[in-house]
């Protein structure tokens, strides 16, 4: 296992460098300048400003400088926010995004698992259909619609929850529901399918024949085995939560990273584009690694270390 992980970490580093390089060159293809009042700048002014930010150097030179700084841990300073460190900006934004992402993931997973298990155990019953209707709605209704409806009814009409801002637990409830809806729906459907499959396995029949109580069969054999594939979808779900909450962040005025990511691209704020992309890539790579490792631990049938990989 140790050797396997070591190998994986080396290939992760290589992947990371490739991503950094690709992002750098793709970014250079973006049209325009990083200057807000570009439409009012003359050619000479643009040249002068580019000089100031080192954007007139040949691209390979810029690339070399960038990679050199990156490897020494320096992400540079924002063009748009006039000299603030990229790492500071990401640092101050990551908190709300991470909090909201985690809370939604936990809440969504618990509810999703619960619904999926109920639906499978009460297969073809009213409960099953009801759960699946919720799941289909959760997947098909965009979360910003859910967010908008909640904000209007819960916030403005009934005044139960604050409309927006980020100022304590009450402020996290509506955004969490909006984001968790997709998690609930995804996990519930997945869990139901897996449970039904496991319930049809011989070892379940064996367990029942041994005289185990049905609760024990469900908890010890069915749920545990059905949960394994859930881990696979957790990786993409986690990253999706971190990157895909932009609209929710906007609607509920949450100072998260999603807004920074999109705006940096719209404004050609190169250092921020690089910083956020690399941050998300790193997160993604690490999550995938963790998923693979957990997979190996939970399911001994998968022998990552010993196999040809």
């Amino acid at each position: 296992m140790g050797r396997y992980i070591g190998g994986r970490i080396i290939s992760m580093l290589i992947t990371f460098l490739i991503i950094a390089s690709l992002t750098f060159f793709l970014m250079k293809l973006l049209p325009g300048t990083p200057f807000n009042n570009q439409d009012k700048l003359t050619e000479t002014q643009i040249v002068q400003l580019n000089d100031k930010y080192g954007l007139n150097d040949p691209v390979p030179v810029q690339y070399f400088n960038y990679m050199k700084n990156l490897l020494s841990g320096d992400l540079g300073v924002s063009f748009q926010q006039d000299g603030r460190e990229v790492s500071t900006i990401i640092g101050e934004r990551i908190g709300p995004s991470a909090y909201l992402g985690l809370q939604s993931l936990v809440v969504g997973t618990i509810i999703g698992l619960f619904l999926g298990i109920i639906a499978a155990l009460k297969h073809n019953s009213f409960l099953d259909y009801g759960t699946m209707v919720i799941a289909v709605l959760g997947i098909s209704i965009p979360n910003f619609v859910i967010a908008g409806l909640m904000q209007y009814w819960l916030g403005v009409k009934w005044q139960l929850l604050p409309v927006a801002y980020w100022d304590g637990f009450a402020y996290t409830i509506m955004p969490t529901i909006a984001i968790a809806s997709i998690v609930v729906a995804t996990i519930a459907r997945f869990m139901r399918t897996e449970m039904l499959e496991v319930l049809g396995q011989d070892y379940i029949t064996t367990a029942k024949a041994k005289g185990l109580s049905s609760t024990a069969v469900v908890i010890r054999h069915t749920i545990r085995n059905a949960s394994i594939p859930i881990i696979t979808i957790m990786g993409p779900l986690v990253v999706g939560l971190m990157t895909g909450t932009l609209v929710i962040e906007q609607i509920f005025v949450i100072p998260g990273l999603g807004e920074k990511f999109v705006n940096s691209i719209l404004t050609n704020d190169f250092p921020i584009i690089m910083g956020t992309t690399l941050f998300f890539s790193l997160l993604f790579i690490v999550v995938i690694l963790l998923v693979d490792i957990m997979y190996g631990i939970i399911d001994p049938r998968i022998r990552l270390a010993g196999g040809k990989g």
Partner: protein
């Protein structure tokens, strides 16, 4: 290594999605004017105002800012020699009195005295050297300001030369016609007198910066609430980047007794529906509305509309054979129904415009609005019928019965709707015309427009200084913003003449004639509307003053009356 390859593929997809989202992005900052409307709530006549902005403050360094949000915030916490008052007139700020004027070798020397009680928020004096420090910084090639050209615009000696590469004075900031005679005396030498000189001094680029403090802070200066000093009516008590900022009354401000508000909170809210919901629940006191919310609030007594001096218009590229024909241009000009656009599509108080220099923007030597010489614009009484005639004549001259044109626009939602509207207007009224819409992200749009790669393009323009020239100079032959191959000797003569003319009445007449040449004789552009803003404001908020150039509002005089 199957898993690793999978990782790589996923990572690449992620990178690609970054790139794709870049292509899909929108140019929400049309015409260089972005930034939001404010608002607020309040306790029981507590002097607290709660507002929202649509964007973060990119910079609080007066030499580096380029956007409305920054300029607006700076106007509340900093002050130049003058500041704009309720009527958009310059009123004394850091200057104690109107300057002494002295003519010398065709130049004018203004001697300003700085108030004795002009203080930075740490209690230190605002001195003449602080102005010079900030101005030199703005002009220095190493720290150049995107608004460095303002010094030339103001007519300050060598302002243009210092930022012109190849000029012997290039980069020599000490040659600027401004010097600190002593701590409280600032001398400005003007080589080219402009009537809006004092108004320009209210602009952020002309604010002072606390020299000793700024040098001490170095790179950190003005990056955070506690790494800058303030000399305006308010100070930043908090600045949470990406979330909002809070103002508190500046007790060191020379005119602190005029300032009523104790505190102003500002949060960044980009979603208009959220803004409206916050307003309805009393969390904020002022809200800007988009067109889709106007009908819902039209009859509300807290609803009002404001007109901005920002113009929207179409450039007609004269390197296109058809558009080089004046009749064709005139047909386009007349066929477009502007009323439908402002009443249905925009629905926010925008005004249908057959003119180029906006209404309610600047007043002439007689105190009358520039627009008054042709209040309804040009070809005001002509419409569809005349458009069809002109179209026919144009087609005949070209010897064809069909014309295909490309319509370049940006990809934001409103721009897309307006483009569809234009296509419908032109194609149904002008037989044989086919319009292809080319939607591009804002930056790409600018590149294409700049390189002349379009037939018709739509754009907006807001003023940089309070004078019609900020609009008219755009279409000089070879002007940086002409972009459409328009060239008229007569127009060039009038515009360059007006730039030099010192007799106000004559200058005014020349600018009016120039607009007439552009619009009536040459029909060079198709103006469409002057921008309006729909807002909601609680009735207990008094004296919220909105400005027509520079910072778009002042909080200094606001009062909460409940």
């Amino acid at each position: 290594m199957k898993k690793s390859r999978w990782t790589l593929v996923l990572s690449l997809v992620l990178v690609l999605s970054v790139f794709l989202s870049a292509c899909g992005g929108g140019g929400s900052n049309n015409g260089g004017n972005s930034g939001g409307e404010g608002e607020g709530e309040g306790g029981s006549a507590e002097q607290v105002l709660n507002l929202v902005e649509t964007a973060e403050i990119p910079s609080m360094d007066t030499t580096q800012a380029t956007d409305n949000t920054s300029f607006k915030a700076m106007n509340q916490v900093f002050e130049g020699l003058y500041r704009l008052d309720e009527n958009n007139e310059p009123t004394l700020g850091m200057a104690a009195e109107e300057p002494k004027e002295e003519e010398k070798d065709g130049e004018t020397v203004y001697t300003f005295t700085i108030r004795d009680d002009a203080k930075w928020s740490d209690g230190s004096d605002v001195v003449a050297g602080d102005f010079i420090y900030a101005w030199h910084k703005a002009l220095n090639p190493d720290t150049i300001s995107p608004y460095a050209s303002m010094f030339g615009t103001a007519g300050i000696k060598n302002g243009n030369a210092i930022i012109t590469e190849g000029d012997p004075l290039y980069g020599k900031v000490e040659e600027l016609g401004a010097k600190a005679v002593d701590d409280k005396t600032l001398e400005i030498t003007v080589e080219n007198q402009v009537p809006y000189f004092k108004s320009l001094l209210t602009f952020a680029t002309f604010y002072p910066q606390p020299e000793a403090y700024a040098e001490e802070q170095g790179d950190k200066f003005a990056l955070e609430a506690d790494t800058m000093l303030y000399n305006g009516p308010f100070v930043f008590s908090e600045w949470n980047h990406g979330e909002g900022w809070t103002y508190e009354k500046n007790t060191e401000y020379w005119d602190a007794e005029t300032v009523n508000l104790e505190k102003i909170t500002t949060k960044i809210v980009q979603d208009v529906a959220t803004t409206v919901n916050l307003y309805e629940t009393g969390k904020i006191d002022r809200a800007g509305l988009s067109a889709d919310f106007v009908d819902q609030f039209k009859d509300n007594e807290e609803f009002s509309t404001l007109v901005d001096p920002t113009m929207y218009f179409m450039r007609l590229n004269q390197s296109n054979e058809a558009l080089a024909n004046k009749d064709i241009r005139k047909a386009l000009y007349l066929a477009y129904d502007r009323e439908g656009l402002v009443n249905v599509l925009l629905n926010n108080g925008s005004i249908a415009a057959k003119y180029f220099v906006p209404k309610d923007f600047v007043k002439g030597p007689e105190g009358d609005d520039f627009r008054e010489f042709a209040p309804d614009g040009f070809y005001a009484d002509q419409g569809e019928e005349e458009a069809k005639e002109a179209w026919k004549a144009g087609l005949e001259a070209l010897g064809t019965d069909s014309v295909e044109l490309e319509f370049l626009t940006t990809d934001n939602e409103l721009a897309a709707k307006i483009a569809e509207y234009a296509k419908d207007q032109f194609e149904t009224k002008l037989d044989g015309l086919t319009l292809t819409i080319n939607k591009q992200p804002w930056k790409q749009f600018l590149e294409l427009e700049d390189s002349g790669d379009f037939d018709i393009s739509t754009g907006g323009w807001g003023p940089d200084y309070p004078d019609p020239m900020t609009f008219l100079y755009m279409f000089e032959t070879d002007g940086a913003y002409n972009r459409m191959g328009y060239s008229s000797e007569k127009y060039d003569e009038l515009v360059s003449g007006a730039k030099k003319e010192t007799d106000e009445a004559k200058r005014w007449k020349m600018m009016q004639d120039a607009e007439k040449v552009l619009m009536e004789e040459d029909v060079a552009i198709v103006p469409t509307y002057q921008k309006g803003n729909a807002i909601l404001q609680k009735d207990y908020v008094k004296n919220y003053y909105v400005h027509s150039f520079g910072a778009d509002s002042s909080y200094k005089w606001i009062k909460i009356e409940k």
